[in-house]
Amino acid sequence: MFGGPSPRARRLAGSAAIYAGYIVVGLIFLFPLLWVASLSLRPMAELFAFPPRLVPQHPTLAAYRDVLTGSPLARYLLNSVKLVSATVVCALAIAVPSAYALSRLRFRRPAQKSAAMLGMLAVQLISPLVTALPLYRWFSALGLINSHAAVVLVYVALSAPLATWMLTGFLDTVPLALDEAARIDGCTRLQSLLHVLLPVMLPGLASTAILLAISTWGQFIVPFVLLTRGDLYPVSVGILDYQSSSDSVSTHLLAAAAILSALPAMLTFLVLQRFIVGALTAGAVKG
């Protein structure tokens, strides 16, 4: 009792310190978003009020109505959803057989397999910024500028290696006995992959899909380079147009557009957080 704080008190103090840390961290990461949300809910007159207030006096959804009905934001959002979903489906379609080969098939030399695995990682070191310029010239010569298919193709190339790498790691944890049993029953490898392994891989597929979706949602350079028509832009590029509208004050519209373009990614993320953390954790530990 008299020999310093008890373990219980020390534990409580420790927990209090941790909560203090949580509050600081939470403020740092949430405050910018709150401020933008606050700007997006104001009538024009309150945008420039001094001193600034976090909670608008006369909150209004007018800015949201304006960007959704009077501007192409809804179209940008739709383009993004379209590009992202096509990319995820195509990237998985390519990554699943590749992961199967890397996890299940015997390579003639083990070095080949590790080279392939290393290759998947090595391409992560090449930024689309480097390849964008030749791709632009190439697609331009082929007349594929302003084609969503071309953008998806490049997105798939960017995301398939990572997907393959993650799915290989996931498949490695699935017992071999499972597909061997199927093979004994007379399945071809493709059948055993589709009917036996794929259902088991579902959580891994889901995590991978979410990660790909989030990284594709934020892509800037590829669509910027390969698309010149504003009506084809995904939101990650189109939102730049709200920043400097030369014909009026656009701060509240910009804020509303920023919130709306962030929402889909944030909601997907918050709902499926567990899978994302799981996927990242699995990937990191493998590395």
Binding site: S71, L78, K82, S244, S246
Partner: protein, 424 residues
């Protein structure tokens, strides 16, 4: 198991989101035998956020399309980063994929001359001579043919609050003295775009031209770093430095790339004077600004005739198809280029007409006292040089101006850097 089903549902839902909804803005039936692709500037289109502009273009294009059911207009839009947008279009034109009709920013027009179709068979000398001189020059390519129609323009001026400034300054010294005094009283004495944007250069070119400075020579080679041009540019950069050093202007002007970036500060009601374009008078009223703004010519180094810079948008035709050209000319005449259309469209936009017959006409818009003042300045207006290198010069000058304003470089060093970059 439940969770797995949810995830499956989400992934499946994402894959089957409707595709193909994202279509361009179209006027007229998809089945029409003639399709015309048209790239517009959003601020002068049905996409404008200003109601009068939006209504004008929306209703006129729709009416025209209704009267021409055999034609479909497939409209796309420039992005707000004009430089990037124009560069991309140049790239498309070089690859033979430019739209049939496009709105080109007047200062980029010269880069397109070789891709554009001549319009002389539609507009004879009597028509062309109706345009104000700088527009006439820009509209003609180096081979003398008519390459585009410069359908509206704008001028730059000094705005001052009549309740705070009794006598608008005519020279830099007067401007700085008055602005510094106002700033001491807690106001923002003098504001201008000073960042990395075309607005910063454009607003300040009159101060350079008034001293006899030239950016390029007759052959289109940069000369702004030589002889008396250099002196004039150094004077201008020195003036910018003084606006900061004396407290006349806040250092944050370096964040303002375009005139519109000034609005938030102006609307807070703390700004006494600012350098801006004529269109801002109308827009400030529409934004609910209650202050009484006076308009004066841009202050110059020494007293003299006013000088201002004129910009504006042009319509140009890329398609070599003669039939499409006929249709397009009919469209733009009824929308922006014919005398009546120019009167109505400039009034809706708040810009100035380029046809002298319109400027000197008797429409209510040109008779408005403020507009009248702006039109009077048109006589003293110059356009930016038509040289293909101008956009690059502008970029380097933007950097030089920012560097001087932030005190990173002396005017000499900043100018030398820009000069060496362009004349290796």
């Amino acid at each position: 198991m439940d969770r797995r089903r949810i995830v499956l549902a989400v992934v499946a839902a994402m894959a089957f989101v409707p595709t193909g909804i994202a279509r361009a803005d179209q006027y007229g039936p998809e089945s029409a035998p003639i399709h015309i692709t048209w790239q517009m500037q959003p601020t002068q289109s049905p996409k404008s956020s200003v109601p009068t502009v939006k209504d004008y273009f929306q209703s006129h294009i729709e009416a025209w399309a209704k009267a021409h059911p055999e034609i479909m207009l497939d409209v796309t839009f420039n992005s707000t980063d004009i430089n990037a947008s124009m560069t991309r279009m140049q790239e498309q034109a070089a690859a033979g994929r430019a739209p049939d009709l496009a709105m080109l920013d007047s200062f980029f027009l010269s880069r397109f001359y070789s891709f554009l179709q001549p319009l002389d068979r539609f507009y004879g000398p009597d028509q062309v001579n109706d345009f104000v001189a700088f527009a006439r020059n820009g509209m003609r390519g180096p081979d003398g043919t008519l390459k585009a129609l410069w359908v509206n323009t704008d001028v730059r001026v000094l705005y001052y609050r009549k309740d705070l400034v009794s006598q608008p300054p005519k020279t830099w010294d007067e401007l700085i003295a008055q602005a510094a005094e106002l700033s001491k009283r807690g106001l923002t004495g003098y504001l201008y775009p000073g960042g990395r944007g075309e607005g910063a250069v454009m607003e300040h070119l009159p101060m350079f031209w008034a001293q006899g400075g030239e950016l390029v020579d007759a052959a289109g080679k940069p000369v702004f770093g030589d002889g008396r041009n250099r002196t004039a540019m150094l004077n201008l950069l020195g003036f910018l430095k003084r606006t900061i050093d004396t407290g006349a202007s806040p250092g944050r002007v370096v964040n303002y790339r375009f005139e519109a970036d000034l609005y938030p500060e102006i609307l807070r009601g703390n700004v006494a004077m600012f350098l801006g374009g004529n269109w801002m008078a109308k827009q400030l009223r529409e934004l609910g600004d209650k202050n009484d703004w006076g308009v004066a010519p841009i202050p110059l180094m020494a007293q003299g005739d006013p000088v201002t810079a004129a910009g504006g948008w042009t319509y140009a035709i890329f398609t070599p198809d003669a039939k499409k050209q006929d249709i397009i000319v009919d469209l733009i005449n009824s929308l922006v280029a014919g005398p009546a259309a120019m009167t109505a469209s400039t009034a809706a936009i708040g810009n100035l007409p380029t046809r002298m017959s319109v400027a000197q006409g008797d429409s209510a818009y040109v008779k408005d006292p403020t507009v009248h003042d702006f039109l009077a300045l048109l006589r003293y207006a110059r356009a930016r040089p038509g040289a293909a290198i101008y956009p690059s010069i502008s970029t380097e000058l933007q950097v030089a101006m920012s560097d001087v304003i932030t005190g990173q470089q002396t005017p000499e060093a900043a100018l030398d850097q820009a000069w060496h970059k362009l004349t290796p």
